[in-house]
Symmetry: C2
Subunit: 127 residues, 2 copies
Amino acid sequence: MDDTAAARQAAYAYVDSLEQRDWPRLTALLADDVVYEMPQTRERIRGRQAFVRFNADYPGDWHLRARRVLADGSRAALLLDVRVGDETLDACIWLDLGDDGLITRITDYWPAAYDPPTGREHLTERW
Amino acid sequence: MDDTAAARQAAYAYVDSLEQRDWPRLTALLADDVVYEMPQTRERIRGRQAFVRFNADYPGDWHLRARRVLADGSRAALLLDVRVGDETLDACIWLDLGDDGLITRITDYWPAAYDPPTGREHLTERW
């Protein structure tokens, strides 16, 4: 299996193990010193033990579904449909894998809804 | 050139033509009926003429730099460093290409900074 195929497989397994709350499976995907970053809050979690605990403790009835998965060499990008109770949002996730196929870095973006600025209604439609 | 190589080339050219304000070059990358969507505001722009105008009219001294570009078949994902005056932010862009190598769909996310929720300080550090 080449790097791209391994990255694709890891990306799908990452989402599936989170959705299934399969913490041993998630742990097995991660490098021991994985770094997880949320640039919007400038939060960082170091190490797979803390990262798995962060997810296991994460409140709410959250569900993840992969809408897009791109793999390219030792990297993957995921566009997720996220549902938390009645709320839905999209997430953009970037993964880096090491030579051993384990995930070494996770960069998560949680783009929230906002009202569009005025002045471009002549070019846009809304849905 | 295979689909992935064409998607990669289109993704870099997309960012570069925007950064250079090279509207003819940008136009040449786009399908005539390209659809541009911003899911956070639920805005949609149809057609390359309107999309190029949207960018040409976009206010501010904005600059784009590709931090990550992934290409996978007829799709690409871009993580951009965006600078508008003194403000910096990240953007997550998803591109779809048609069989002719032109960009048919652009999905843009502009994740804004926010304060982290309380209760997870024991697992996270800040930067």
